[in-house]
Amino acid sequence: MTGWIPRIIAISGSDIGIIISLVVIGGGLAWLLKQSIKAGDVDRRIVFLFIFISVSVPILFPITFSETATPIVKKLYDRIENLPEGSAVLISFDFDPAMAPEVQPMADAFARHCLAKNHKVIFMSLWATGQSLLSTTLQNVVRPEFPEKIEGVDFANLGYKAGNEGVLNVIVTNFRKMFPTDVNSIPLDSIAVFKKIRSCQDLDLIISIGGGKPGAKEWILFVGDPANVPMGCGVAAVTAPQLYPYYPKQLLGILGGIKGAAEYESELVRHYDRFADVKKPGLRMMGPQTLAHVVIMAFIVLGNISYFVTRRRGKKP
């Protein structure tokens, strides 16, 4: 396609996405404004329809934006980056499938980064449903992308243990009491990763990924603070504001919602060539996010315009 005509026609999928979204959403909103001023109320289903279009079009025709890591994300990234090789990092999967689209990308990104830096990674879960999502990360990220890493030597999978904060309260002084074996029933004493790790106090970093209870907050309360272990977290957007007070003293960094995940992914891609082609759900989700946000903001503006217009009209007679 070298001629000038094909060059004009040759628009990428991303361009199609932007064009469709702009036409549909822009036109629709203008019509909506007219309607709302004329009739007052707008059927809520129309709002749902707009959100559906603004989310689905960028999924079908991916629109991507470049992301830069904000300090709250960058600090956590830098900590993992600057830990000496072979440091012990614990990643806890404290979430369920309902939260997974938001936080699983973070879990994948952390796992990639830690393994690429040759840290010893310990995976575990305080949520029963987290264990299967943990297997998903092992299956989709760890094993295919790091075939040279051996389970037990480079990473360990403790799986799920019932007991919520009770589990934390025990492992802060002794892992073996709560986890006599790993998920495959191998005693911890015969796992190389645990050779020098007796309790959480021997860890170099703890990352809790979640958004409910128990989650990052319980980790801070029961492990991070009492054992003085540096902590970071990746949480669902709903929970993020409640964790900001712990930053930067009790939490090194926070990944809040899919934006945090996208920032972390972009930072990884920038520094590691090997991750250029892996799936980056966080960055991919930012397209629909951005468009949906634009639509919601437009709704807020339109709602206010029509509110003031109708109010003025009501006052006049």
């Binding site: 004493d189 106090q201 603070d225 009492p226 054992a227 003085n228 409640q242």
Partner: protein, 409 residues
Amino acid sequence: MKFKMLLALILLCFVSAVSGFGQSAEEIMALPDSMAMAPPAPPSNVRGVDTDNDHGHSITLTWETSPDDGAGLNNVIGYKVFRAESPDGPFIERALIPSGGTGHIDVGAKEKDANDYLPDHVGFYYKVRAITADSLIYAESEVFGPVQSYGQWFNTGRVPVLVFVIFFLFVTLFFIQKAKGGANLFVRRLAGIEAVDEAIGRATEMGKPILYVLGLGTAADIATIASYTILGRVAKKVAEYQTGLIVPCYDPIVMTVAQETVKASYMDAGRPDAYYEDMVYFVTQSQFAYVAAVNGTMLRERPATNIYMGKFYAESLILAETGALAGSIQISGTDEIAQIPFFVVACDYTLIGEELYAASAYLGREPLLLGSLKAQDYAKAAAIIIAIIGFITMNFGIEAFKHLFYVSN
């Protein structure tokens, strides 16, 4: 110069190759400087003490670095720590510290059958070895010992926590006692309570009922307990004004208590005849089924006022949104921080967090709630004062005050 170095290097390679054929380490170490790396000066002044504020099984070691660490011959790459039960050995390696390190905490297991069991009250001997890139060239410190580990009964690093626990417990018990004794503890009037009164007045004017939702909490949740008191107040006003009251419940036990509360209020208002049991009824214990039922009631009965007080979760926005659509005045209150934004957006008035307790304490004057509220106020006052002092001292560069709040593990 370059030639000399090259020669030395070749010789070194040669020597190390030959050493595999029968030369012992001692012989290599005895080689002249020009042929092998000179051994560094040993680390000095090795000292060991029991680690403070722990449960035992740990010894803290310190030493002074070798003069050849970062200076002099500059060939020290790290230190190895050795431990033995007698000064003559056998010594076992316990740790490897990078160069520049001047200390190590030797922590062992407390279980007798563990590999690295470190018994308490047993004398141990330590020595530190400065190591070089060549594993055969090193220098060892003098042996230090004996040193014993033992546990402490009291962790002095946690004194700040103890002080605050005692302070809070004392203040709480003191004010609960005072409230029980009938002391008149002042609680300011909250705008939310006025909003409740106004809303009841409006319902009366419109001749429509009031819907009161106690939330999804159990009967033991503080938010639910606070909600009973407010329900009592609302029921009393409703009885006086002869307006309708609808209380759908999520929890059967909560329902029983709510029935009693409403009944008592109708008695207080002098209208026991107007009370009937179905005002307060049980719906279901399935979260969203409950929401669906309450939403149905809102749309059918069109209450003038909806009051949501208690524990709420994901259903908060669905309830408040439906109520807003039905055109009711809505007042809410919850201590679930995550749900407050939704209530703030969709309701006319929201009691934020502790305001719910305060409203309840103001209305009910129940000693337990009132006393705890007072104690919390004092805790907040303490926090404000500490924050201001800390802020001032910090800005004048005085660090001592900040250290008072340092808690070690």
